[in-house]
């Protein structure tokens, strides 16, 4: 019998829409936060695969205990993609609305401050339960 794949408790999604500063920041901050988080409890999930409806990604997401979504701006694109796919979101972080990090764009993917990256990373870790490894 095939062993069931381990699924982390926290399924972390982000928009990673790099057309603006905050879109880039979601992806860069989530990857940096993931370096510091417990990998058994936290996993990065694929927003695009959920939008397409890739069955394996859908099943894995359904098995996670919590869905955490990080969006860059008021458009809330990642949140909308998850909701359209029928998922209930447990926690959200919006870099513009919650952390007041300015959205600079279009086509300004690097126009964010180092201190904003660190704030975003800290908040993502807190949202995931604050446990680092």
């Amino acid at each position: 019998m095939e062993k069931e794949e381990h699924v982390p408790e926290n399924a972390i999604f982000c928009c990673f829409g790099c057309m603006s500063s905050v879109g880039t920041l979601t992806g860069v901050a989530v990857l940096e936060a993931y370096k510091r988080l417990d990998k058994e409890k936290n996993g990065l999930f694929c927003t695009s695969a959920i939008a397409v409806g890739v069955p394996k990604h859908r099943k894995t997401t359904e098995r996670a205990k919590r869905i955490i979504v990080v969006d860059g701006c008021y458009n809330k694109c990642a949140t909308k993609i998850l909701e359209k796919a029928g998922f209930k979101i447990d926690k959200t972080l919006n870099l513009l609305l919650d952390l007041k990090i300015p959205k600079i764009g279009p086509f300004k993917p690097f126009d964010y401050k180092e201190e904003d990256l660190e704030r975003a990373v800290t908040e993502i870790i807190r949202l995931c339960g604050g446990e680092t490894k």
Binding site: T24, L31, T47, N75, C77, I81
Partner: protein, 138 residues
């Protein structure tokens, strides 16, 4: 001055799947950013895949004024290409890291399992794709 320049649009638009759930997905994102660092935002600009999927008016309108598009996927699921095709958007150049560069997808949750050399290799391939598009505009 061209309309494109007045609007601050790049010559080539770049879409990537930007999936952080596997090494190849992360690589699409990191390499796309590296390409913008190398070529500059006048030549190439990253377009927001989630914004296009949600039909955000401003982003959709800007993207449709960009003359050439490169689309990059990390794996055989080809999510970015599929999602854009649903919106009637066909890339001028398409790059799939598994199929074209023979990178191995190690997922799930292999998000950090990539090297600087791999980012450079993928960025080199995207730069070549962008340059093919730019050559077509001359």
């Amino acid at each position: 001055m061209e309309m494109r320049e007045r609007m601050g649009l790049p010559k080539v638009g770049l879409f990537a799947c930007f999936s952080g759930s596997s090494n190849t997905g992360s690589l699409t994102g990191m390499a796309a950013l590296e390409v913008v660092r190398r070529l500059g935002s006048e030549k190439v600009g990253i377009c927001s895949l989630p914004a296009i999927l949600n039909e955000v008016p401003r982003q959709s309108a800007m993207m449709r004024r960009i003359e050439k598009l490169v689309v990059v996927d990390g794996c055989h699921n080809a999510c970015a290409r599929e999602l854009l095709a649903d919106k009637g958007i066909v890339p001028d150049v398409y790059l799939n890291l598994e199929e074209d560069l023979h990178l191995t997808k190690q997922g799930p949750f292999s998000s950090l399992a990539f090297t600087d050399d791999e980012v450079k290799r993928v960025a080199d391939a995207i730069v070549a794709a962008v340059n093919r598009c730019l050559a077509g505009l001359k």
